[in-house]
Protein backbone atom coordinates (compact mmCIF):
# COMPACT_ATOMS: atom_id res chain seq x y z
CA UNK A 1 0.00 0.00 0.00
CA UNK A 2 2.81 2.30 0.80
CA UNK A 3 4.34 1.66 -2.53
CA UNK A 4 1.20 2.34 -4.40
CA UNK A 5 1.32 5.95 -3.29
CA UNK A 6 4.92 6.20 -4.12
CA UNK A 7 4.66 5.58 -7.81
CA UNK A 8 7.87 6.92 -9.05
CA UNK A 9 9.75 5.59 -6.12
CA UNK A 10 7.89 2.28 -6.46
CA UNK A 11 9.14 2.03 -9.98
CA UNK A 12 12.71 2.71 -9.01
CA UNK A 13 12.44 0.63 -5.85
CA UNK A 14 11.09 -2.31 -7.79
CA UNK A 15 13.91 -1.99 -10.29
CA UNK A 16 16.46 -1.95 -7.52
CA UNK A 17 14.87 -4.98 -5.97
CA UNK A 18 15.08 -6.86 -9.22
CA UNK A 19 18.73 -6.05 -9.59
CA UNK A 20 19.33 -7.28 -6.09
CA UNK A 21 17.66 -10.61 -6.78
CA UNK A 22 19.60 -11.04 -10.00
CA UNK A 23 22.81 -10.36 -8.17
CA UNK A 24 22.11 -12.82 -5.43
CA UNK A 25 21.15 -15.47 -7.99
CA UNK A 26 24.35 -15.06 -9.95
CA UNK A 27 26.26 -15.11 -6.69
CA UNK A 28 24.62 -18.37 -5.79
CA UNK A 29 25.67 -19.82 -9.13
CA UNK A 30 29.29 -18.76 -8.74
CA UNK A 31 29.87 -19.50 -5.13
CA UNK A 32 29.36 -22.55 -3.19
CA UNK A 33 26.49 -21.82 -0.88
CA UNK A 34 27.66 -21.10 2.65
CA UNK A 35 25.91 -24.15 4.02
CA UNK A 36 27.11 -27.23 2.19
CA UNK A 37 24.37 -29.68 1.18
CA UNK A 38 24.97 -33.04 2.68
CA UNK A 39 26.28 -35.78 0.39
CA UNK A 40 23.15 -37.83 0.83
CA UNK A 41 20.89 -34.93 -0.23
CA UNK A 42 22.81 -34.51 -3.45
CA UNK A 43 22.75 -38.22 -4.05
CA UNK A 44 18.96 -38.33 -3.77
CA UNK A 45 18.66 -35.36 -6.04
CA UNK A 46 20.78 -37.02 -8.69
CA UNK A 47 18.78 -40.18 -8.47
CA UNK A 48 15.53 -38.27 -8.85
CA UNK A 49 16.84 -36.32 -11.80
CA UNK A 50 18.09 -39.46 -13.52
CA UNK A 51 14.71 -41.03 -13.06
CA UNK A 52 12.93 -38.05 -14.54
CA UNK A 53 15.37 -37.87 -17.43
CA UNK A 54 14.86 -41.52 -18.28
CA UNK A 55 11.13 -41.09 -18.23
CA UNK A 56 11.30 -38.12 -20.56
CA UNK A 57 13.71 -39.94 -22.88
CA UNK A 58 11.25 -42.77 -23.22
CA UNK A 59 8.44 -40.33 -23.96
CA UNK A 60 10.41 -38.59 -26.66
CA UNK A 61 11.31 -41.94 -28.22
CA UNK A 62 7.64 -42.82 -28.39
CA UNK A 63 6.83 -39.57 -30.11
CA UNK A 64 9.60 -40.09 -32.61
CA UNK A 65 8.33 -43.55 -33.36
CA UNK A 66 4.86 -42.14 -33.98
CA UNK A 67 6.24 -39.47 -36.24
CA UNK A 68 8.18 -42.09 -38.18
CA UNK A 69 5.06 -44.17 -38.63
CA UNK A 70 3.04 -41.29 -39.97
CA UNK A 71 5.82 -40.13 -42.23
CA UNK A 72 6.07 -43.66 -43.63
CA UNK A 73 3.34 -42.69 -46.08
CA UNK A 74 4.31 -40.67 -49.12
CA UNK A 75 3.18 -37.22 -47.97
CA UNK A 76 2.21 -37.01 -44.32
CA UNK A 77 0.30 -33.75 -44.42
CA UNK A 78 -1.67 -34.60 -47.50
CA UNK A 79 -2.85 -37.94 -46.14
CA UNK A 80 -4.02 -36.18 -43.01
CA UNK A 81 -5.97 -33.70 -45.06
CA UNK A 82 -7.52 -36.27 -47.35
CA UNK A 83 -8.56 -38.62 -44.58
CA UNK A 84 -10.18 -35.78 -42.72
CA UNK A 85 -12.04 -34.76 -45.84
CA UNK A 86 -13.07 -38.33 -46.49
CA UNK A 87 -14.32 -38.69 -42.95
CA UNK A 88 -16.29 -35.49 -43.19
CA UNK A 89 -17.54 -36.39 -46.67
CA UNK A 90 -18.61 -39.86 -45.54
CA UNK A 91 -20.48 -38.38 -42.64
CA UNK A 92 -22.20 -35.95 -44.97
CA UNK A 93 -23.30 -38.77 -47.28
CA UNK A 94 -24.73 -40.69 -44.33
CA UNK A 95 -26.62 -37.67 -43.04
CA UNK A 96 -28.00 -36.83 -46.47
CA UNK A 97 -29.20 -40.42 -46.82
CA UNK A 98 -30.91 -40.31 -43.43
CA UNK A 99 -32.63 -37.05 -44.35
CA UNK A 100 -33.99 -38.78 -47.46
CA UNK A 101 -35.11 -41.76 -45.37
CA UNK A 102 -37.37 -39.55 -43.26
CA UNK A 103 -39.93 -39.56 -46.08
CA UNK A 104 -40.78 -43.10 -44.94
CA UNK A 105 -42.01 -41.70 -41.64
CA UNK A 106 -44.49 -39.51 -43.47
CA UNK A 107 -42.79 -36.22 -42.71
CA UNK A 108 -39.53 -34.95 -44.09
CA UNK A 109 -38.23 -31.57 -45.05
CA UNK A 110 -35.42 -29.14 -45.24
CA UNK A 111 -34.54 -25.74 -43.97
CA UNK A 112 -35.08 -22.74 -46.16
CA UNK A 113 -33.95 -19.16 -45.86
CA UNK A 114 -37.38 -18.29 -44.50
CA UNK A 115 -37.91 -21.26 -42.24
CA UNK A 116 -38.66 -24.81 -43.19
CA UNK A 117 -40.29 -26.64 -46.07
CA UNK A 118 -42.04 -29.76 -44.85
CA UNK A 119 -42.85 -32.59 -47.21
CA UNK A 120 -45.79 -34.86 -46.37
CA UNK A 121 -45.72 -38.29 -48.02
CA UNK A 122 -48.81 -40.41 -48.46
CA UNK A 123 -49.36 -44.12 -48.89
CA UNK A 124 -52.17 -46.64 -48.91
CA UNK A 125 -51.67 -50.33 -48.17
CA UNK A 126 -48.04 -50.30 -49.17
CA UNK A 127 -48.57 -48.17 -52.25
CA UNK A 128 -46.51 -45.01 -52.09
CA UNK A 129 -48.61 -42.17 -53.39
CA UNK A 130 -48.25 -38.42 -53.98
CA UNK A 131 -46.37 -36.11 -51.67
CA UNK A 132 -47.35 -32.59 -50.75
CA UNK A 133 -45.33 -29.76 -49.35
CA UNK A 134 -45.95 -26.91 -46.95
CA UNK A 135 -43.48 -24.05 -46.89
CA UNK A 136 -43.48 -22.44 -43.47
CA UNK A 137 -42.11 -19.04 -42.60
CA UNK A 138 -40.65 -18.96 -39.11
CA UNK A 139 -42.00 -15.67 -37.88
CA UNK A 140 -44.41 -14.52 -35.23
CA UNK A 141 -47.06 -15.44 -36.19
CA UNK A 142 -46.04 -18.58 -38.03
CA UNK A 143 -47.42 -18.58 -41.54
CA UNK A 144 -47.60 -20.69 -44.62
CA UNK A 145 -45.65 -19.17 -47.47
CA UNK A 146 -46.97 -21.56 -50.05
CA UNK A 147 -48.07 -25.15 -50.34
CA UNK A 148 -49.24 -27.86 -52.71
CA UNK A 149 -52.21 -29.04 -50.66
CA UNK A 150 -55.37 -29.42 -52.80
CA UNK A 151 -58.03 -26.78 -52.22
CA UNK A 152 -60.66 -29.20 -51.00
CA UNK A 153 -58.51 -30.22 -48.01
CA UNK A 154 -59.50 -27.95 -45.09
CA UNK A 155 -56.03 -26.46 -44.68
CA UNK A 156 -57.26 -23.10 -43.31
CA UNK A 157 -59.34 -24.85 -40.69
CA UNK A 158 -56.50 -27.06 -39.56
CA UNK A 159 -53.96 -24.26 -39.47
CA UNK A 160 -56.35 -22.00 -37.58
CA UNK A 161 -56.69 -24.68 -34.93
CA UNK A 162 -53.10 -25.80 -34.51
CA UNK A 163 -50.48 -23.93 -36.49
CA UNK A 164 -49.71 -21.26 -33.92
CA UNK A 165 -49.84 -23.46 -30.86
CA UNK A 166 -48.37 -26.75 -31.97
CA UNK A 167 -46.57 -27.26 -35.28
CA UNK A 168 -46.29 -30.99 -34.71
CA UNK A 169 -50.01 -31.37 -34.20
CA UNK A 170 -50.74 -29.21 -37.24
CA UNK A 171 -48.51 -31.34 -39.46
CA UNK A 172 -49.76 -34.65 -38.09
CA UNK A 173 -53.35 -33.57 -38.59
CA UNK A 174 -52.65 -32.43 -42.14
CA UNK A 175 -50.82 -35.70 -42.71
CA UNK A 176 -53.90 -37.60 -41.59
CA UNK A 177 -56.22 -35.72 -43.94
CA UNK A 178 -53.87 -36.02 -46.90
CA UNK A 179 -53.21 -39.72 -46.36
CA UNK A 180 -56.93 -40.44 -46.06
CA UNK A 181 -57.65 -38.46 -49.23
CA UNK A 182 -54.83 -40.23 -51.09
CA UNK A 183 -56.19 -43.59 -49.91
CA UNK A 184 -59.74 -42.85 -51.03
CA UNK A 185 -58.53 -41.56 -54.36
CA UNK A 186 -56.39 -44.66 -54.84
CA UNK A 187 -59.37 -46.93 -54.17
CA UNK A 188 -61.57 -45.05 -56.62
CA UNK A 189 -58.82 -45.04 -59.26
CA UNK A 190 -58.23 -48.76 -58.85
CA UNK A 191 -61.94 -49.51 -59.13
CA UNK A 192 -62.18 -47.44 -62.28
CA UNK A 193 -59.06 -48.98 -63.76
CA UNK A 194 -59.38 -52.66 -62.92
CA UNK A 195 -63.12 -53.27 -62.56
CA UNK A 196 -64.66 -51.07 -65.24
CA UNK A 197 -66.38 -54.18 -66.59
CA UNK A 198 -68.43 -54.43 -63.40
CA UNK A 199 -69.60 -50.83 -63.60
CA UNK A 200 -72.33 -49.38 -65.72
CA UNK A 201 -70.69 -46.20 -66.79
CA UNK A 202 -67.94 -44.27 -64.99
CA UNK A 203 -67.64 -44.03 -61.27
CA UNK A 204 -69.07 -40.74 -60.03
CA UNK A 205 -67.03 -38.95 -57.43
CA UNK A 206 -66.26 -35.54 -55.99
CA UNK A 207 -62.77 -34.03 -55.75
CA UNK A 208 -62.37 -35.07 -52.14
CA UNK A 209 -63.30 -38.62 -53.16
CA UNK A 210 -65.56 -38.81 -50.13
CA UNK A 211 -68.82 -39.16 -52.04
CA UNK A 212 -68.96 -41.98 -54.53
CA UNK A 213 -71.84 -43.26 -56.54
CA UNK A 214 -71.95 -46.09 -59.06
CA UNK A 215 -74.08 -48.81 -60.53
CA UNK A 216 -72.63 -52.29 -60.59
CA UNK A 217 -73.07 -55.98 -61.04
CA UNK A 218 -71.36 -58.93 -59.38
CA UNK A 219 -71.70 -61.56 -62.06
CA UNK A 220 -69.34 -60.91 -64.95
CA UNK A 221 -71.63 -62.78 -67.37
CA UNK A 222 -74.75 -60.85 -66.42
CA UNK A 223 -75.90 -58.09 -68.80
CA UNK A 224 -77.75 -56.06 -66.24
CA UNK A 225 -76.35 -53.94 -63.46
CA UNK A 226 -78.77 -54.56 -60.63
CA UNK A 227 -77.09 -52.74 -57.77
CA UNK A 228 -76.78 -49.06 -57.08
CA UNK A 229 -74.25 -47.91 -54.54
CA UNK A 230 -73.77 -44.64 -52.70
CA UNK A 231 -70.76 -44.33 -50.41
CA UNK A 232 -70.21 -41.39 -48.11
CA UNK A 233 -67.04 -40.83 -46.11
CA UNK A 234 -68.11 -38.29 -43.52
CA UNK A 235 -64.90 -38.65 -41.54
CA UNK A 236 -62.25 -37.14 -43.76
CA UNK A 237 -59.50 -38.88 -41.84
CA UNK A 238 -60.61 -42.37 -42.78
CA UNK A 239 -60.36 -44.49 -45.89
CA UNK A 240 -63.51 -46.51 -45.21
CA UNK A 241 -67.03 -45.12 -45.68
CA UNK A 242 -69.23 -44.03 -42.81
CA UNK A 243 -72.46 -44.34 -44.81
CA UNK A 244 -73.22 -47.06 -47.32
CA UNK A 245 -76.45 -47.32 -49.22
CA UNK A 246 -76.97 -50.19 -51.64
CA UNK A 247 -80.22 -50.37 -53.52
CA UNK A 248 -81.40 -53.17 -55.67
CA UNK A 249 -82.92 -51.96 -58.87
CA UNK A 250 -83.29 -55.25 -60.64
CA UNK A 251 -86.54 -56.63 -61.93
CA UNK A 252 -86.54 -59.72 -59.75
CA UNK A 253 -87.61 -57.85 -56.63
CA UNK A 254 -89.43 -60.78 -55.05
CA UNK A 255 -86.46 -63.03 -54.47
CA UNK A 256 -85.03 -62.93 -50.95
CA UNK A 257 -81.59 -63.80 -52.18
CA UNK A 258 -81.30 -60.35 -53.70
CA UNK A 259 -82.03 -58.79 -50.33
CA UNK A 260 -79.40 -61.03 -48.71
CA UNK A 261 -76.90 -60.07 -51.34
CA UNK A 262 -77.71 -56.41 -50.96
CA UNK A 263 -77.20 -56.59 -47.20
CA UNK A 264 -73.95 -58.50 -47.48
CA UNK A 265 -72.66 -56.00 -50.01
CA UNK A 266 -73.38 -53.16 -47.64
CA UNK A 267 -71.37 -54.92 -44.99
CA UNK A 268 -68.50 -55.52 -47.41
CA UNK A 269 -68.28 -51.88 -48.44
CA UNK A 270 -68.18 -50.82 -44.79
CA UNK A 271 -65.29 -53.09 -43.92
CA UNK A 272 -63.10 -53.52 -46.98
CA UNK A 273 -61.39 -51.09 -49.33
CA UNK A 274 -63.45 -50.47 -52.45
CA UNK A 275 -61.30 -52.24 -55.00
CA UNK A 276 -60.86 -55.25 -52.72
CA UNK A 277 -64.63 -55.64 -52.49
CA UNK A 278 -64.71 -55.98 -56.25
CA UNK A 279 -61.74 -58.34 -56.20
CA UNK A 280 -63.80 -60.64 -54.01
CA UNK A 281 -66.82 -60.20 -56.36
CA UNK A 282 -64.60 -61.23 -59.25
CA UNK A 283 -63.27 -64.22 -57.31
CA UNK A 284 -66.77 -65.29 -56.30
CA UNK A 285 -67.84 -64.92 -59.89
CA UNK A 286 -65.01 -67.25 -60.91
CA UNK A 287 -65.98 -69.75 -58.27
CA UNK A 288 -69.54 -69.61 -59.48
CA UNK A 289 -68.39 -70.29 -63.01
CA UNK A 290 -66.29 -73.22 -61.86
CA UNK A 291 -69.25 -74.74 -60.03
CA UNK A 292 -71.34 -74.46 -63.18
CA UNK A 293 -68.69 -76.27 -65.17
CA UNK A 294 -68.18 -79.12 -62.69
Amino acid sequence: MEWANDKSKGGVLAHLERLETQMSRSCKNLEDPPRETAESDLGTKIRKLRCLRDKLRAEVKQRQARIKASTANAEPDQTLEISEQEAVGGKEENMKAILQAYRFTGLSGKRTSRGVCVCISTAFEGNLLDSYFVDLVIQKPLRIHHHSVPVFIPLEEISAKYLQTNIQHFLFCLCEYLNAYAGRKYQADQLQRDFAAFLAGPLQRNSLCNLLSFTYKVEPQSRSFPFCARLLYKDLTTTLPTDVTITYQGTDASSTSWEEQRASHENLFFTKPLHQVFTSFARNGERLDMSLVS
Partner: protein, 288 residues
Protein backbone atom coordinates in the same frame (compact mmCIF):
# COMPACT_ATOMS: atom_id res chain seq x y z
CA UNK B 1 31.64 -32.40 -5.06
CA UNK B 2 32.12 -30.63 -8.34
CA UNK B 3 31.58 -33.76 -10.36
CA UNK B 4 28.28 -34.39 -8.68
CA UNK B 5 27.21 -30.82 -9.08
CA UNK B 6 28.18 -30.96 -12.71
CA UNK B 7 26.10 -34.07 -13.11
CA UNK B 8 23.11 -32.32 -11.52
CA UNK B 9 23.49 -29.42 -13.93
CA UNK B 10 23.83 -31.74 -16.89
CA UNK B 11 20.76 -33.71 -15.89
CA UNK B 12 18.76 -30.53 -15.38
CA UNK B 13 19.78 -29.27 -18.80
CA UNK B 14 18.89 -32.56 -20.47
CA UNK B 15 15.54 -32.64 -18.73
CA UNK B 16 14.79 -29.13 -19.89
CA UNK B 17 15.62 -30.07 -23.49
CA UNK B 18 13.53 -33.26 -23.31
CA UNK B 19 10.64 -31.28 -21.88
CA UNK B 20 10.81 -28.88 -24.80
CA UNK B 21 10.82 -31.83 -27.21
CA UNK B 22 7.65 -33.20 -25.57
CA UNK B 23 5.85 -29.89 -25.71
CA UNK B 24 6.27 -29.56 -29.45
CA UNK B 25 3.20 -30.16 -31.58
CA UNK B 26 2.58 -33.80 -32.38
CA UNK B 27 4.06 -34.09 -35.82
CA UNK B 28 5.84 -31.54 -37.88
CA UNK B 29 3.62 -32.60 -40.80
CA UNK B 30 0.45 -31.82 -38.93
CA UNK B 31 1.78 -28.50 -37.95
CA UNK B 32 2.50 -27.42 -41.48
CA UNK B 33 -0.85 -28.64 -42.73
CA UNK B 34 -2.62 -26.65 -40.07
CA UNK B 35 -0.59 -23.63 -40.97
CA UNK B 36 -1.38 -24.14 -44.62
CA UNK B 37 -5.07 -24.35 -43.87
CA UNK B 38 -5.11 -21.13 -41.94
CA UNK B 39 -3.07 -19.57 -44.73
CA UNK B 40 -5.59 -20.73 -47.27
CA UNK B 41 -8.38 -19.29 -45.26
CA UNK B 42 -6.61 -16.04 -44.86
CA UNK B 43 -5.81 -15.69 -48.55
CA UNK B 44 -9.18 -17.15 -49.61
CA UNK B 45 -7.62 -19.47 -52.08
CA UNK B 46 -9.80 -20.77 -54.88
CA UNK B 47 -8.37 -24.25 -54.63
CA UNK B 48 -11.42 -26.45 -55.11
CA UNK B 49 -10.47 -29.00 -52.50
CA UNK B 50 -9.92 -26.51 -49.77
CA UNK B 51 -13.06 -24.59 -50.48
CA UNK B 52 -15.02 -27.82 -50.48
CA UNK B 53 -13.45 -28.91 -47.22
CA UNK B 54 -14.33 -25.65 -45.51
CA UNK B 55 -17.86 -25.65 -46.95
CA UNK B 56 -18.28 -29.25 -45.96
CA UNK B 57 -17.82 -28.52 -42.31
CA UNK B 58 -20.33 -25.67 -42.36
CA UNK B 59 -22.64 -27.83 -44.44
CA UNK B 60 -22.46 -30.62 -41.87
CA UNK B 61 -23.72 -28.30 -39.17
CA UNK B 62 -26.61 -27.36 -41.44
CA UNK B 63 -27.48 -31.01 -42.06
CA UNK B 64 -27.24 -31.79 -38.37
CA UNK B 65 -29.76 -29.11 -37.53
CA UNK B 66 -32.12 -30.41 -40.22
CA UNK B 67 -31.86 -33.91 -38.77
CA UNK B 68 -32.51 -32.60 -35.29
CA UNK B 69 -35.60 -30.77 -36.52
CA UNK B 70 -37.00 -33.87 -38.21
CA UNK B 71 -36.30 -36.21 -35.32
CA UNK B 72 -37.99 -33.79 -32.93
CA UNK B 73 -40.93 -33.32 -35.26
CA UNK B 74 -41.59 -36.98 -36.03
CA UNK B 75 -40.42 -38.35 -32.68
CA UNK B 76 -38.40 -40.84 -34.70
CA UNK B 77 -34.62 -40.84 -34.57
CA UNK B 78 -33.13 -42.53 -37.63
CA UNK B 79 -29.55 -43.53 -37.01
CA UNK B 80 -28.66 -45.61 -40.04
CA UNK B 81 -30.02 -45.97 -43.52
CA UNK B 82 -28.85 -47.67 -46.66
CA UNK B 83 -30.39 -48.66 -49.95
CA UNK B 84 -29.48 -50.96 -52.79
CA UNK B 85 -31.16 -50.94 -56.17
CA UNK B 86 -31.50 -53.71 -58.68
CA UNK B 87 -32.90 -53.29 -62.14
CA UNK B 88 -35.12 -56.24 -62.90
CA UNK B 89 -34.89 -57.65 -66.37
CA UNK B 90 -38.07 -59.44 -67.26
CA UNK B 91 -37.74 -62.70 -69.08
CA UNK B 92 -41.07 -62.15 -70.81
CA UNK B 93 -41.28 -60.20 -74.01
CA UNK B 94 -39.26 -57.22 -72.96
CA UNK B 95 -41.44 -54.20 -73.43
CA UNK B 96 -39.02 -51.40 -73.62
CA UNK B 97 -41.52 -48.96 -72.22
CA UNK B 98 -41.76 -50.83 -68.89
CA UNK B 99 -38.91 -50.52 -66.45
CA UNK B 100 -38.84 -52.34 -63.13
CA UNK B 101 -36.49 -51.49 -60.31
CA UNK B 102 -36.30 -53.28 -56.98
CA UNK B 103 -35.00 -51.27 -54.05
CA UNK B 104 -33.80 -52.90 -50.87
CA UNK B 105 -33.84 -50.56 -47.89
CA UNK B 106 -32.32 -50.92 -44.44
CA UNK B 107 -33.22 -48.51 -41.73
CA UNK B 108 -32.51 -48.47 -38.01
CA UNK B 109 -33.05 -46.06 -35.19
CA UNK B 110 -35.09 -45.47 -32.10
CA UNK B 111 -38.19 -43.80 -30.76
CA UNK B 112 -37.31 -42.93 -27.17
CA UNK B 113 -36.66 -46.23 -25.41
CA UNK B 114 -37.80 -48.43 -28.28
CA UNK B 115 -35.25 -49.34 -30.94
CA UNK B 116 -36.23 -50.65 -34.34
CA UNK B 117 -34.59 -52.23 -37.35
CA UNK B 118 -36.43 -52.28 -40.61
CA UNK B 119 -35.77 -54.04 -43.87
CA UNK B 120 -38.13 -53.41 -46.70
CA UNK B 121 -38.35 -53.71 -50.46
CA UNK B 122 -39.91 -51.27 -52.85
CA UNK B 123 -40.79 -52.23 -56.40
CA UNK B 124 -40.85 -49.33 -58.82
CA UNK B 125 -42.62 -49.87 -62.10
CA UNK B 126 -42.26 -47.22 -64.74
CA UNK B 127 -44.50 -47.48 -67.76
CA UNK B 128 -45.66 -45.00 -70.38
CA UNK B 129 -48.41 -43.49 -68.27
CA UNK B 130 -47.11 -43.54 -64.75
CA UNK B 131 -44.62 -44.53 -62.12
CA UNK B 132 -45.83 -46.76 -59.34
CA UNK B 133 -43.98 -47.50 -56.12
CA UNK B 134 -45.10 -50.38 -53.99
CA UNK B 135 -43.66 -51.74 -50.78
CA UNK B 136 -43.46 -55.44 -51.52
CA UNK B 137 -41.94 -56.67 -48.29
CA UNK B 138 -41.59 -55.28 -44.80
CA UNK B 139 -39.71 -56.74 -41.85
CA UNK B 140 -39.66 -55.04 -38.49
CA UNK B 141 -37.57 -55.92 -35.46
CA UNK B 142 -38.30 -53.99 -32.29
CA UNK B 143 -36.81 -53.92 -28.82
CA UNK B 144 -37.78 -54.06 -26.01
CA UNK B 145 -40.43 -56.66 -26.53
CA UNK B 146 -42.25 -56.21 -23.22
CA UNK B 147 -44.93 -53.99 -24.71
CA UNK B 148 -47.35 -56.73 -25.68
CA UNK B 149 -49.67 -54.27 -27.37
CA UNK B 150 -46.89 -53.52 -29.81
CA UNK B 151 -46.19 -57.01 -31.12
CA UNK B 152 -49.69 -57.35 -32.54
CA UNK B 153 -49.43 -53.91 -34.08
CA UNK B 154 -46.06 -54.76 -35.63
CA UNK B 155 -47.43 -57.94 -37.26
CA UNK B 156 -50.32 -55.96 -38.66
CA UNK B 157 -47.99 -53.31 -40.07
CA UNK B 158 -45.80 -56.00 -41.64
CA UNK B 159 -48.80 -57.75 -43.20
CA UNK B 160 -50.16 -54.54 -44.62
CA UNK B 161 -46.72 -53.23 -45.53
CA UNK B 162 -47.87 -49.96 -44.04
CA UNK B 163 -44.59 -48.26 -43.25
CA UNK B 164 -46.00 -44.77 -42.73
CA UNK B 165 -48.62 -45.97 -40.33
CA UNK B 166 -45.99 -47.95 -38.44
CA UNK B 167 -43.91 -44.85 -37.74
CA UNK B 168 -46.84 -42.59 -36.97
CA UNK B 169 -48.48 -45.03 -34.58
CA UNK B 170 -45.16 -45.90 -32.94
CA UNK B 171 -44.56 -42.25 -32.16
CA UNK B 172 -47.97 -41.77 -30.57
CA UNK B 173 -47.76 -45.07 -28.72
CA UNK B 174 -44.44 -44.10 -27.16
CA UNK B 175 -45.77 -40.65 -26.26
CA UNK B 176 -48.73 -42.22 -24.49
CA UNK B 177 -46.42 -44.65 -22.66
CA UNK B 178 -44.29 -41.76 -21.46
CA UNK B 179 -47.36 -39.83 -20.35
CA UNK B 180 -48.71 -42.84 -18.51
CA UNK B 181 -45.37 -43.37 -16.76
CA UNK B 182 -45.17 -39.69 -15.76
CA UNK B 183 -48.73 -39.73 -14.46
CA UNK B 184 -48.20 -42.88 -12.40
CA UNK B 185 -44.94 -41.53 -10.98
CA UNK B 186 -46.61 -38.24 -10.13
CA UNK B 187 -49.38 -39.92 -8.16
CA UNK B 188 -46.97 -42.30 -6.47
CA UNK B 189 -44.98 -39.31 -5.28
CA UNK B 190 -47.96 -37.25 -4.21
CA UNK B 191 -49.87 -39.99 -2.43
CA UNK B 192 -47.05 -42.32 -1.49
CA UNK B 193 -49.01 -44.13 1.19
CA UNK B 194 -52.07 -44.83 -0.87
CA UNK B 195 -50.60 -45.54 -4.29
CA UNK B 196 -48.69 -48.65 -5.26
CA UNK B 197 -47.11 -49.54 -8.57
CA UNK B 198 -46.71 -53.30 -8.28
CA UNK B 199 -45.20 -53.68 -11.73
CA UNK B 200 -43.30 -50.43 -11.85
CA UNK B 201 -44.15 -47.05 -13.34
CA UNK B 202 -43.72 -48.25 -16.93
CA UNK B 203 -46.43 -50.88 -16.55
CA UNK B 204 -50.15 -50.59 -17.10
CA UNK B 205 -51.28 -51.02 -13.53
CA UNK B 206 -51.70 -48.68 -10.56
CA UNK B 207 -53.15 -49.81 -7.24
CA UNK B 208 -54.83 -47.39 -4.86
CA UNK B 209 -55.28 -48.52 -1.32
CA UNK B 210 -56.94 -46.76 1.55
CA UNK B 211 -54.23 -46.37 4.20
CA UNK B 212 -56.75 -46.88 6.97
CA UNK B 213 -58.64 -49.73 5.39
CA UNK B 214 -56.07 -51.86 3.63
CA UNK B 215 -58.71 -54.33 2.54
CA UNK B 216 -60.10 -51.84 0.05
CA UNK B 217 -58.21 -51.62 -3.18
CA UNK B 218 -58.88 -49.90 -6.44
CA UNK B 219 -56.87 -51.22 -9.34
CA UNK B 220 -56.56 -48.96 -12.34
CA UNK B 221 -55.58 -50.68 -15.54
CA UNK B 222 -54.39 -48.28 -18.19
CA UNK B 223 -53.74 -49.95 -21.50
CA UNK B 224 -52.59 -48.24 -24.65
CA UNK B 225 -54.10 -49.80 -27.70
CA UNK B 226 -53.48 -49.39 -31.39
CA UNK B 227 -56.59 -50.00 -33.42
CA UNK B 228 -56.98 -51.37 -36.88
CA UNK B 229 -56.52 -48.01 -38.54
CA UNK B 230 -53.37 -47.32 -36.55
CA UNK B 231 -55.00 -44.90 -34.13
CA UNK B 232 -53.48 -44.98 -30.66
CA UNK B 233 -56.00 -44.82 -27.84
CA UNK B 234 -55.74 -45.11 -24.07
CA UNK B 235 -58.11 -47.57 -22.50
CA UNK B 236 -58.63 -47.34 -18.76
CA UNK B 237 -60.48 -49.77 -16.56
CA UNK B 238 -61.22 -49.90 -12.88
CA UNK B 239 -61.20 -53.05 -10.81
CA UNK B 240 -62.34 -53.08 -7.24
CA UNK B 241 -61.18 -55.34 -4.47
CA UNK B 242 -63.11 -55.20 -1.23
CA UNK B 243 -63.67 -57.45 1.75
CA UNK B 244 -66.78 -59.65 1.65
CA UNK B 245 -68.27 -57.68 4.54
CA UNK B 246 -68.18 -54.45 2.60
CA UNK B 247 -69.86 -56.07 -0.38
CA UNK B 248 -72.74 -57.14 1.81
CA UNK B 249 -73.09 -53.67 3.23
CA UNK B 250 -73.10 -52.08 -0.19
CA UNK B 251 -76.84 -51.61 -0.56
CA UNK B 252 -76.57 -49.02 -3.30
CA UNK B 253 -74.34 -51.34 -5.31
CA UNK B 254 -71.79 -48.60 -5.66
CA UNK B 255 -69.01 -51.12 -6.08
CA UNK B 256 -70.78 -52.93 -8.87
CA UNK B 257 -71.29 -49.78 -10.84
CA UNK B 258 -67.87 -48.36 -10.02
CA UNK B 259 -66.22 -49.42 -13.30
CA UNK B 260 -68.97 -47.77 -15.31
CA UNK B 261 -68.84 -44.70 -13.16
CA UNK B 262 -65.13 -44.59 -13.68
CA UNK B 263 -65.55 -44.57 -17.45
CA UNK B 264 -68.10 -41.82 -17.24
CA UNK B 265 -65.85 -39.78 -15.00
CA UNK B 266 -63.01 -40.18 -17.47
CA UNK B 267 -65.14 -38.68 -20.15
CA UNK B 268 -65.97 -35.69 -18.04
CA UNK B 269 -62.77 -34.94 -16.13
CA UNK B 270 -60.08 -36.54 -18.21
CA UNK B 271 -57.49 -39.03 -17.00
CA UNK B 272 -55.48 -37.07 -14.46
CA UNK B 273 -58.41 -35.46 -12.69
CA UNK B 274 -60.30 -38.74 -12.57
CA UNK B 275 -57.37 -40.59 -11.00
CA UNK B 276 -56.80 -37.79 -8.55
CA UNK B 277 -60.41 -37.72 -7.42
CA UNK B 278 -60.40 -41.50 -7.06
CA UNK B 279 -57.32 -41.47 -4.87
CA UNK B 280 -58.64 -38.60 -2.80
CA UNK B 281 -61.92 -40.37 -2.21
CA UNK B 282 -60.08 -43.29 -0.64
CA UNK B 283 -57.88 -41.06 1.43
CA UNK B 284 -60.69 -39.03 2.96
CA UNK B 285 -59.58 -37.56 6.23
CA UNK B 286 -55.85 -37.92 5.50
CA UNK B 287 -53.67 -34.86 5.52
CA UNK B 288 -51.28 -34.55 2.61
Amino acid sequence: MDARRAEVRALEAEIAALRRACEEPRAPGEDTSRARKSLQEVHQSDSGEWAASKDLRGHLGHLESELLFLSTLTGINIINYSMKTEVLTSTENTEKSIKKVLQRHRLSGNCHMITFQLEFQILEIQNKESLSSVITDLNIIMEPTEYSELSEFVSRAEDRRDLLMFFRSLHFFVEWCEYRKCTFEHFKEKYSEAVRLPEGAASSCMVVQSPRQPGFELVIIWRIQIDDEGKVLPKLDLLTKVPQQALELDKNRVLETAPLGFRALLGVLGIEATLESLIKSLCVGENH
